[in-house]
């Protein structure tokens, strides 16, 4: 067999291996990333989506955050303007980032499961800090 052909076989093994690892990796570790509306609609149509680990991207409802230091628990509500549901996070409060406040429109990504009772049980809460950068330039300040 020519060396070129041997190399081609080796290359195919690697390329195939990478492709396999990628597809398997996505199948086993991929998580749905939805808005509250998408999640509620999908779960209503397909109950399989209840108690399924996934991520939800939404805004924190202003003034809804209740921290319970003693029980290491945070209750709040998220919304995307149409759908809204309560979220409960039980776990280390040190894991909650500094930027997670309900002072202004905070974008949040919660990871966890939507229970059949309609409450989202979060295992992690990530607040995005985009607001203080470019995106939330006070429009009124510009060339008023």
């Amino acid at each position: 067999m020519k060396p070129g052909a041997k190399f081609a076989i080796g290359a195919l093994v690697i390329v195939g291996g990478v492709a396999l690892m990628i597809t398997e990796g996505i199948k086993q570790t991929g998580t749905y990333f939805m808005t509250p509306t998408q999640l509620v609609d999908t779960a209503t149509a397909d109950p399989h989506f209840y108690n399924l680990g996934l991520k939800v991207s939404a805004k924190v409802v202003q003034g809804s955050i209740k921290r319970d230091n003693e029980h290491q628990r945070v209750d709040f509500a998220v919304s995307d303007g149409h759908q809204s549901f309560p979220v409960v996070y039980v776990g280390s409060l040190a894991e909650i980032p500094d930027t997670f406040t309900d002072a202004n429109d905070i974008d949040v990504v919660v990871e966890g499961k939507l229970g059949r009772e309609g409450t989202f049980h979060a295992t992690s809460v990530i607040a995005k800090c985009g607001s203080k950068y470019e995106a939330a330039m006070p429009k009124s300040g510009k060339k008023a």
Partner: protein, 679 residues
């Protein structure tokens, strides 16, 4: 000054467009004076942008808050060095930073390139000026002019985001930018070679050091980003596979592949098409990375900037991809390989597999990063993948790459004989086997860490053997002392031995990543005087006593600081503090959400990493997250080793350049027997 700045931008735009048009549309070949004019055009663009840069810095240092950019990113109470960093803290300033640095690189490429490659230079100036023109155009037409004024003058600026107020963050963005930006120069040489139809190894020799420089900048920039994430974000890790982190990694991976595969082209005249494609791909990935970080199209934890400017970059990405690959297609027949692969057991083939692994990693990272968008486009629902996905795919590939790092330097070019394999592999294999045995003996049983550290032993054995043989040869040949022989060995073969030192740096990164697999994490609430213990993976016990929480005020922040007394195996080491900071403006109004400042005690063995997560309402008790992170210091040491190796490789002068004639003869000598072999 803002008027001058805007004027300088327009001047730069017009000059860049003019010079690019002449250089790329070609009238200069018939009129040599125009070729000179194109070169001067590169200098003139650089001059105009330097004026604009000076104007912006002047505005920042003069606290001219009427300029919107100055208001948005700096304030009166910001320390001076962060004022310097304010230049590139925001979108608009970083665009100017990008344009001015690229124009400086473009001018340097004109000034520093040897006259042997003169025929490429006007094209190089054309490509760089075209890219500069793009950035200036984005500023002027994309509502991103940093000199824009507001209708009123605020009394103070908003200040710099506290997470950016960190020495690492002063250096991290410019380093990454330097890496991204300098990629344009080797890309410009590749395009120039295609346009001039001069597709011998000339263009590779002309741009090799540029490619190395961008690789080095990217490496340092990525590592600084890791350091920043480690000390500033308070999660105790260095890498989270966030899109913003993946973006520079993509270009780094393909550039690494390129640096290896050009050696095959230089030595054997193979892989010409692949090399040009890799260079084009690397440039496109650098633009893609900029697009990701600036458009907010992919959700990222630290997506800094979200704006329409992304579409400009998408357009640039699309247009340059189409133009470059069309050009490559028209020159395809000229890029025929001179020889074929002779054996699977050869250095060529080791390098080819190295390229496959690197491109494979790059592809999987790109795929994972884009998957949310792809799945939404195809299936209508977003599916994200996180660190588990990237680890699963890239840990095996990375270890395969580490294996090749040990094999590549040992195996002969063209075809390795059984004698060559025996002579070369015995010591490194023994070194790997001894490492494995020692690790098992001390009780390491985890599969991947065991493989990683054994391979590290194998690669270090390879490098040590290479150095040992080189030194021994010099000692017996020239009668030199060992250290002198080492110095001469490196100085006379900078590329080869500098490269080995880089390999050692990479091995150290692998070892440090392996250490992170053994991190220990622990959360606790402590009243003043309360004691807690944490056991490190190396078997030591830290005893921590909470001493209390105190509060004080600095120039631009209010600080709550929690203090722990640290004892290691009973011996008192001192105290460690961690802070919660509330940044304020000069009217004492809070400017940002509270920020956390971690406490860190680093040793070569492990880091004690303490995060003060606040106090339960009104008490002096403190909530702590405490981590032991093994071997993290080795990331920074690895970066230092890699930088030294890279600098040796790039150091100007050296025997190869001083005797160009012998080089040409040697190349001819290669060509003759090889031509005979392939027939």
């Amino acid at each position: 000054m803002t008027l001058l700045g805007t004027f300088a931008l327009w001047a730069a735009l017009l000059l860049a467009c003019w010079s690019a048009a002449i250089a790329l549309l070609g009238p200069w070949q018939r009129r040599p004076s125009l070729a000179v004019a194109v070169t001067r055009g590169a200098y003139a663009v650089c001059g105009a942008l330097l004026v604009a840069t000076a104007a912006l810095w002047q505005g920042i240092f003069a606290h001219d808050f009427n300029i919107e950019y100055v208001w948005a990113y700096t304030s009166r109470n910001l320390p001076t060095y962060y004022l310097v960093a304010g230049f590139w803290a925001g979108q608009k300033g970083s665009l100017l930073f990008w344009a001015v640095i690229l124009s400086i690189f473009g001018a340097l490429a004109q000034a520093l390139t040897s006259s042997r490659h003169k025929h490429l230079l006007p094209y190089v100036a054309g490509v760089t000026n075209l890219v500069v023109a793009f950035f200036v155009a984005v500023m002027l037409f994309g509502h991103a002019n940093p000199f824009e004024r507001m209708a009123f003058t605020p009394a103070d600026g908003r200040g710099l985001n506290p997470q950016l107020q960190n020495p690492g963050m002063v250096m991290h963005p410019p380093m990454l930018y330097l890496g991204y930006i300098s990629i344009t120069i080797p890309f410009a040489f590749a395009i120039a070679a295609l346009m001039a139809r001069r597709l011998d190894t000339g263009w590779i020799i002309a741009m090799r050091k540029w490619a190395l420089a961008s690789w080095l900048f990217l490496s340092i920039g990525i590592t600084l980003g890791m350091w920043w994430a480690y000390v500033e974000l308070g999660w105790g890790g260095v890498w989270a596979w966030d899109p913003v982190e993946n973006a520079p990694l993509l270009a780094w991976l393909t550039l690494t592949a390129f640096l290896h595969s050009v050696m095959i082209q230089e030595k054997r005249g193979m892989l010409k098409r692949w090399n040009v494609s890799l260079m084009i791909g690397t440039f496109l990935l650098s633009i893609f990375g900029t697009f990701i970080t600036r458009s907010g199209v992919i959700a990222s934890v630290h997506s800094f900037t979200q704006s329409d400017i992304g579409y400009f970059f998408l357009a640039l990405l699309f247009v340059s991809a189409v133009l470059s690959f069309t050009l490559l297609y028209t020159r395809w027949p000229m890029l025929e390989a001179e020889v074929q692969l002779e054996s699977l057991l050869s250095r060529e083939s080791a390098f080819l597999f190295n390229n496959l692994a690197l491109v494979g990693i790059a592809f999987s990272v790109l795929w994972g990063t884009l998957f949310p968008i792809l799945s939404e486009a195809v299936k209508g629902t977003k599916i994200t993948v996180g660190p588990p996905f990237f680890d699963r795919v890239n840990v095996p590939l990375g270890l395969f790459l580490l294996l090749l790092t040990g094999i590549g330097p040992l195996i002969a070019w063209r075809k390795a004989s059984a004698a060559n394999l025996r002579r070369q592999f015995i010591v490194p294999l023994l070194s790997g086997a001894v490492s494995a045995a020692a690790l098992v003996a001390v009780g390491l049983r985890d599969f991947y860490p065991l493989v990683a550290l054994s391979l590290a032993g194998f690669v270090l054995g390879t490098v040590a053997q290479e150095f040992y043989r080189g030194i021994r040869a010099r000692m017996s040949l020239h009668g030199e002392h060992m250290l002198l022989a080492l110095a001469h060995l490196i100085a006379r073969n900078r590329r080869r031995y500098g490269g080995y030192i880089v390999h050692v740096g990479i091995v150290i990164y692998f070892v440090a990543f392996t250490g992170l697999a053994f991190k220990v994490k622990h959360e606790t609430v402590l009243l003043p005087g309360a004691v807690d213990t944490i056991r490190s993976p190396f078997g030591h016990t830290y005893t921590l006593t909470h001493l209390g929480v105190s509060q004080y005020t600095r120039l631009n922040r209010h600080v709550s600081v929690a203090t722990l007394e640290v004892r290691l195996d009973g011996e008192r080491l001192g105290t460690i503090t961690s802070e919660k900071r509330q940044y304020v403006d000069s009217f004492d109004q809070p400017t940002f959400e509270p920020a956390t400042e971690i406490g860190l005690r680093s040793t070569l063995r492990e880091d004690l990493y303490v995060v003060y997560a606040g106090s339960p309402d009104g008490t002096e008790a403190a909530r702590y997250t405490i981590m032991i992170n093994p071997l993290v210091t080795w990331f920074w040491i690895g970066c230092g080793v890699l930088t030294i190796g890279g600098l040796i490789t790039m150091w100007p002068g050296g025997p190869q350049l001083r005797t160009p004639r012998r080089r040409v003869v040697a190349q001819a000598g290669y060509a003759v027997p090889l031509a005979g072999v392939t027939e």
